[in-house]
């Protein structure tokens, strides 16, 4: 049976969203694409390496501020600012991670949280550079005039054009992540997740691999943050606040950390649900919290894990185990 390349299908379909002509749909699709990248970057730690980071928003925020400062304050072009955002996210993750990977479990989570709060505090108070509490509004769009030269895109609004750029960049980044996960390096990460003690005794320097994973996750979070700052028309200290880190964790768990695409599905589900529900009620956190509780108790495998499990059971295969074995690369 030939496998359907779902990834390509999804991206191809997503590419035509602007042709629907709805500003709202393009808005949602941009939001989903960026947050999906953010959640996927976290899952390199959570689902593949078994590290629970409670401060992943730090690198998202660092990426956002880096590109905002470069584009708005220094007037540099996007094609410089975007890679720089990834680099900054990765570098900070390397430095912070150096200390974090020395700790285990709850202490690891606490230290990632502490570093994220430091980043937040700096963004919140360093008025001259980050704009302090007010953040940096009006981050400019990248120059997208060149898209007008492409037949079919000439009539598009800037939001649509930015979406096409975002989708393309996210697709490239996600393809790279997918490749990393399936690489020998990625396989070693799964060994560490499964059993760090045993991994050490087949010759793996566990901390070094954890640090590498932490830095790579930081790079991709930074890339996502950069895009989000532009999409959001501004960069704010909240990007690095601990509740943001919790949010991306929820997306990852909701989708299912046991599957590569789980976090992306979670990001899409939460974003779309959020937009739908806030039209009816202001109590989105209440609903999110309830969903999360339901999820933790009833569907620990997340949306994707549960679906995969169900499909397997229907096919009469082996007994499911909450999507855990789907975690394999």
């Amino acid at each position: 049976m030939k496998r359907i390349p779902w990834t390509l299908v999804v991206f191809a379909v997503a590419f035509f969203v602007p042709w629907l002509g709805s500003r709202f749909y393009t808005f949602i699709a941009t939001d989903v694409a960026i947050l999906a990248l953010f959640a996927l970057s976290l899952n390199l730690l959570l689902g593949y390496t078994g590290l629970v980071s409670f401060g992943h928003a730090a690198y998202f925020g660092i990426g956002a501020y880096t590109s905002a400062i470069m584009m708005k304050t220094l007037g540099l072009p996007f094609w410089l600012a975007w890679p720089a955002a990834g680099l900054a996210g990765g570098l900070f993750a390397l430095v912070f991670g150096f200390f974090c990977v020395r700790l285990t479990k709850i202490y690891f989570a606490m230290l990632t949280l502490a570093f994220a709060q430091i980043v937040w505090a700096v963004c919140f108070k360093w008025n001259d550079v980050t704009g302090g509490e007010q953040g940096m509004p009006n981050v400019p769009y990248p120059s997208l005039g060149w898209m007008a030269a492409i037949p079919g895109l000439d009539g598009f609004r800037v939001g649509d054009r930015f979406y096409l750029l975002t989708l393309t960049l996210v697709a490239i980044a996600v393809a790279a992540l997918r490749r990393i996960v399936a690489s020998p390096f990625g396989r070693i990460l799964t060994l560490i997740r499964e059993n760090p003690e045993r991994a050490e005794f087949i010759g793996i320097d566990v901390r070094r691999y954890q640090l590498a994973a932490f830095s790579i996750a930081g790079i991709f979070a930074g890339l996502a943050g950069s895009l989000f700052g532009i999409f959001n028309r501004g960069v704010f200290p909240d990007f690095a606040y601990w509740t943001k880190s919790a949010e991306v964790l929820i997306m990852t768990i909701l989708g299912g950390m046991g599957h590569f695409w789980g976090p992306a599905v979670g990001a899409a589900a939460l974003t779309i649900l959020n937009l739908q529900i806030t039209a009816y009620t202001e109590y989105w956190p209440l609903i999110l919290g309830s969903i999360l509780i339901l999820l933790l108790f009833a569907f620990p495998g997340g949306l994707v894990g549960t679906t995969v499990d169900l499909a397997r059971r229907l096919r009469g295969g082996t007994r499911g185990n909450g999507g855990r074995d789907a975690r394999r690369p």
């Binding site: 990625g186 396989r187 045993r198 087949i202």
Partner: protein
Amino acid sequence: MLDVRDLKKSFAGFLAVADVTFSLLPRSVTAIIGPNGAGKSTLFNLITGHIPPSGGQVFHKGTDITAAAPHRICRRGIGRSFQHTNIFPGLTVFECIQAAFIAHHGRGRNIWGRAERLYRAETDALLGRLGLADKADAVAGALSHGNQKQIELGIALASDPDILLLDEPTAGMSAVETRETIGLLRSITEERGLTLLFTEHDMEVVFGIAERIGVLHQGRLIALGTPDQIRADPEVRRIYLGGH
């Protein structure tokens, strides 16, 4: 091959391993026996760097490896298994062994290649040798205890060690499984010219394959010799074999 000198470890005043000294000759098969709590697992953990010793030294081929990081010790060619089965439960049997090959060959730095294409032939060969070929695609954590012990042996062998430290390789196995495992161990050791150091409760196994036996009692190595010498040793008979 492996020289252990005056190795000791105390936990909060309690001496778990006390001045243990012994040497392993290349291609020798040595068993360490002793009652529960005699310090066998602690001794292994000291040798492999999992816990730092309170005193003494460990040499591998003349190099001091005392308290080196476990991954470095492993890289020098010392493989081990653990008393409590220690595998990668969420991976398939094939992936467990394959990953061990990847780690051993230092391919983990490659972040762009495809892991699934590496060392397939080697993995298949080793699985065949272990009698696990038909279980290659099963999830390791779901298999029987005996199979998991075999997988653990496979993981250790994949890193092509010259010394193998096995902590109770047949613990929890049925009589049949034990016999198979012992046969396997003996033939693999011979094939590869391995130096084997193992702990074991089953005296039949110990006296069946060990060339030399060390007896650990309350952290001290009270005797070390051939099976016949150990059988005849009055002190060993008194405190350990007395009940049998």
